[in-house]
């Protein structure tokens, strides 16, 4: 095979032909709207992938348009010819990664984030613990300890102010790994904790377990589970993503369970696509299929069992910012709305463009801060228009981003962002 043929295979050249360039994706694409050029649209990106595969443009030319893609997959939902944009995007990222055209500073950050940070439970709970420490002691010692100043251009300081109050390390360590019901269980579920959720939103995770228990489930938390690999795949680190997928598949095979429940739209989306990582017909593919069939978002299982009755009214006007990955990849759209409807006292105001990404997109808001903020500003205009007191989300990235948006708008006195799980628990759900 010639060099170009190898490139064509890697970059999914064949798949680019599914695109008939009709342009139906343009109105759905957040970056086309904020960056105002075809180069930053799905159709433009797919065309550039094709140009690179045909040797007309270089991988370097492709880099910026691909890096600026949020990966929100809104285009795949509106695409009339079902172009596999996700695979084209990941192929392009892999080729870019192989070409090592990523800037050096970004590479150092990524190597750290992906090599040791996200897969490590220790680091993640350390992050939580450090954040707790920082919140108790003030910024100086925290910054010194972690040498966070190195990250200053990443605008991490902006994110720090929106990270919630952390539980003490003691509380963190106390969590049980298994909750068995005395009464017969609705089903046995394994809880996928997720690294950011468990690191930064530990209390929401605890609340998720509480909800599942009240819903009548038996809950286990397999200890060997690891990062879902979403951020790795989004950054072209395919081998790492496969490795993490294997570890998770193994971890959740250990005992007989009905569902694998998660509360992070992004993680769920990655996990329902694990089988794409393995060649069809291989044992791993089969195991992945098995794994995928059990993946559920927390809202799905709560709706499926009809087990909860909400006792306490929550008198609040809320709006809902769906996670793009939950909508466009997991195709879970209505369950969160169905649950909100059941909570007494809530006035629900829909966003005019709920399917428009908030700009969080994994680590996009960290590495492409300015572009992300432009998208966030579009989103916040819509959010503010609903006059809501709470923005409900179902993914840690979106949750942080919405909190950031509320800070930026200077309306943190009148509005907050909450995970759906936390809001539901506030309404004191009890089994019927």
């Amino acid at each position: 095979m010639s060099e170009l043929q190898i490139l064509q295979e890697k970059i999914n050249y064949d798949k680019t032909f599914d695109c008939v360039q009709c342009g139906y994706c343009l109105p759905a694409c957040p970056t086309y709207e904020t960056m105002e050029r075809e180069t930053h649209s799905p159709r433009g990106r797919i065309n550039l992938v094709k140009m690179v595969a045909e040797g007309k443009a270089s991988v370097e030319d492709l880099k910026n348009p691909i890096e600026k893609c949020l990966g929100c997959m809104a285009c795949t939902t509106v695409c009339p010819t079902s172009v596999q944009y996700g695979q084209i995007l990941e192929g392009a990222k892999e080729v870019i990664e192989d070409n090592e055209v990523i800037s050096k500073s970004r590479k150092t950050i990524e190597d750290f984030l992906f090599g040791s940070f996200f897969p490590s439970e220790k680091w993640m709970s350390n992050l939580g613990n450090l954040t707790w420490f920082y919140q108790r002691t003030g910024i100086q010692s925290f910054v010194n300890m972690t040498r966070l100043t190195r990250w200053a251009p990443l605008h991490l300081d902006k994110f720090e102010q929106v990270i919630p109050k952390q539980p003490s390390p003691k509380e963190r360590a106390k969590r049980t790994k298994r909750y068995i019901r005395k009464r017969p269980a609705q089903a046995k579920v394994a809880f996928f904790t997720g690294c950011v959720m468990d690191g930064v939103f530990f209390r929401t995770n605890q609340n998720t377990i509480e909800l599942l228990l009240r819903g009548g489930f038996e809950v286990v938390i397999p200890e060997q589970q690891t990062c879902c690999g979403a951020l790795h795949a989004h950054s072209g680190k395919v081998n790492d993503a496969i490795e993490l997928a294997k570890r998770n598949i193994e971890a959740f095979e250990e005992e007989k369970i009905d569902y694998i429940v998660n509360n992070a739209g992004g993680c769920g989306a990655r996990m329902v696509e694990y089988h794409h990582l393995f060649e069809e017909g291989t044992p791993w593919h089969k195991r992945a299929k098995q794994f995928v069939s059990k993946i559920r978002d927390i809202s799905e299982v709560l709706v499926e069992v009809h087990g909860l009755h909400f006792n306490k009214p929550v008198d609040r006007t809320v709006t809902y910012q769906p996670s793009c990955h939950m909508t466009n990849v997991q195709k879970v759209k209505t369950p969160p709305l169905q649950l909100l409807e059941k909570v007494p006292g809530i006035t629900f105001k829909e966003l005019s463009r709920p399917d428009f990404c908030c700009g969080s997109a994994g680590i996009y808001n960290i590495v492409n801060y300015e572009d992300s903020m432009k998208i966030l500003d579009v989103k916040m205009k819509d959010v503010c228009g609903t006059d809501s007191e709470s923005v409900v989300t179902t993914n840690p990235g979106c949750l942080l981003q919405m909190k950031l948006g509320i800070e930026r708008e200077g309306i943190n006195q009148t509005m907050d962002a909450v995970h759906l799980v936390d809001l539901l628990l506030e309404a004191d759900p009890q089994q019927k």
Binding site: C22, Y24, T39, T81
Partner: protein
């Protein structure tokens, strides 16, 4: 370049290879790398850019969202793509006059949305209305299913503002329904595919929105009967808003793609939409049902709920993506014939399909004779594409033989240019060319479109 930068903000000037390639294509065939792509957001910017292009004789290609199916915005001779899609949206609706004034970047569906707020409608409904700009629709004189009853874009334009190829601003028409002052330049510009200037504003006509609609789906055992049924309906005193045709290959493709409950055994179906007052609709629905039964339709389905109707129209919308699954490359034509010739055209298409052994399917707006024969092929297969070229030529010839036209709603662009003389004759085409030359003495405005170059032939292959 220096001259451009004087009045155009930097972010609107694109010279990087990634940007240039992003404006090298549309939704039709071919890819041509422009030297520069530039965005205009106001009339002043357009004037500035066009003047420079005219001064330095740089070809300039106006472009909306690039959804064109005939190659209108393709920069075939290099030069400058002028992207108008980022112009801030302006919709100035005057409900009392039933008119609306819009900027060229407004998405066509947005005009109808605004009109509906006042109980009005903007009738032209190309299937890409939610993506395409009105500027593009005006340039190409686009149409859609409702063209049967209401007409196409040109029937709804009262006035235009245009920057001429020499950088001057003119206004044509006005705001009144009746207007016979001078030549009708408005109609000349609409459908001129960006060869006579850049449209910077349009005043459009609105009409009252019909209070109700009724869908009817009719199945046929043979295509000829379907053709007859269409003519019979239209001569019975009823004018449906839409009459859409699908052949068996399309029906099966849709059912394979996303099962929608279409009758896969039927040789053809015709989907009708009536609009008007609910009482009139009841009478007309009965009448259509009777006509269909008399003429020998296999089955008439009258949906009772709006959900059921929506499902039928959704199935119709699925045709394009569904047939794209047959083979990756879609050559979509819009040759149009007089309504009474639909059965003959269907026969000719059938013969062409057999002769060249191609996947040819037919659907379209049969009520106005605007069929969409689509050939499904693979552009990487050179031998097959050779056969496709020949088949397309014969489709055009068949349409002209039957007293029809090359294009009902997509435009001529590059692909159909070689056939212009066949339809218009030598002198007819020459007169058009003279108009073009006097408007655009330096030939900078969207060159390579409509008018064939010497010896130009239809080419779908990459050499």
């Amino acid at each position: 370049m220096e001259a451009l930068r004087k009045e155009i903000p930097d972010p609107q000037i694109m010279t990087k290879i990634s940007d240039r390639y992003s404006y090298s294509f549309d939704a039709s065939f071919g890819e041509y790398l422009p030297d520069i792509a530039i965005q205009a957001k106001s009339k002043q910017e357009v004037v500035h850019i066009v003047k420079i292009a005219n001064q330095f004789k740089i070809p300039i290609y106006p472009r909306g969202q690039g959804t064109c199916l005939s190659g209108g915005p393709l920069p075939v001779h290099g030069g400058m793509v002028l992207d108008l899609s980022q112009w801030p949206e302006q919709i100035d609706l005057n409900a009392d006059d039933l008119t609306v004034k819009v900027s060229p970047s407004v998405l066509t569906a947005r005009i109808n949305e605004e009109a509906e707020k006042h109980g009005l409608m903007y009738a032209p409904d190309p299937s890409s209305a939610h993506v395409a700009t009105i500027g593009g629709n005006l340039a190409e004189n686009s149409g859609g299913p409702r063209g049967l009853k209401y007409g196409v874009t040109k029937d709804f334009v009262l006035g235009l503002e245009l920057v001429t190829p020499e950088g001057k601003v003119i206004r044509t028409g006005g705001q009144t329904i009746k207007n016979v002052t001078g030549f009708d330049l408005t109609k000349l510009i609409v459908g001129s595919e960006g060869t006579l200037g850049v449209i910077t504003e349009a005043t459009l006509k609105l009409m009252p929105k019909p209070p109700a609609v009724q869908t009817i789906m009719v199945e046929f055992d043979n295509v000829r009967t379907a053709g007859k049924a269409i003519s019979r309906t239209l001569t019975s005193g009823i004018l449906p808003s839409k009459m859409e045709f699908m052949d068996q290959a399309c029906i099966q493709a849709v059912e394979n793609f996303k099962p929608s409950g279409l009758p896969i055994d039927a040789e053809a179906i015709v989907i009708i939409e009536l609009d008007g007052h609910p009482e009139t609709l009841r009478l007309e629905t009965d009448l259509v049902g009777k006509i269909m039964k008399e003429i020998g339709a296999a089955n008439v389905r009258i949906p009772e709920t709006s959900e059921e109707s929506a499902k039928i129209w959704h199935a119709r919308k699925q045709v394009s993506p569904a047939i794209a699954k047959i083979k990756p490359t879609k050559v979509s034509e819009d040759a149009t014939v007089p309504r009474s010739k639909i059965p003959d055209m269907m026969d000719r298409l059938h013969d062409i399909k057999e002769k060249y052994q191609l996947e040819l399917v037919v659907f379209g707006h049969a009520g106005d004779g605007n069929l969409h024969p689509n050939i499904l092929c693979d552009k990487r297969d050179q031998e097959e594409m050779g056969r496709v070229e020949k088949a397309v030529e014969e489709i055009f010839q068949a349409a002209i033989d039957l007293g029809g036209t090359l294009s009902g709603e997509h435009g001529i662009g590059t692909m159909k240019a070689p056939f212009m003389e066949q339809e218009l004759g030598v002198v007819g085409l020459e007169m058009m060319k003279r108009i073009k030359d006097s408007w655009d003495p330096n030939g900078i405005m969207n060159p390579g479109k409509i008018f064939p170059e010497k010896g130009q032939k239809l080419v779908l292959r990459n050499e």
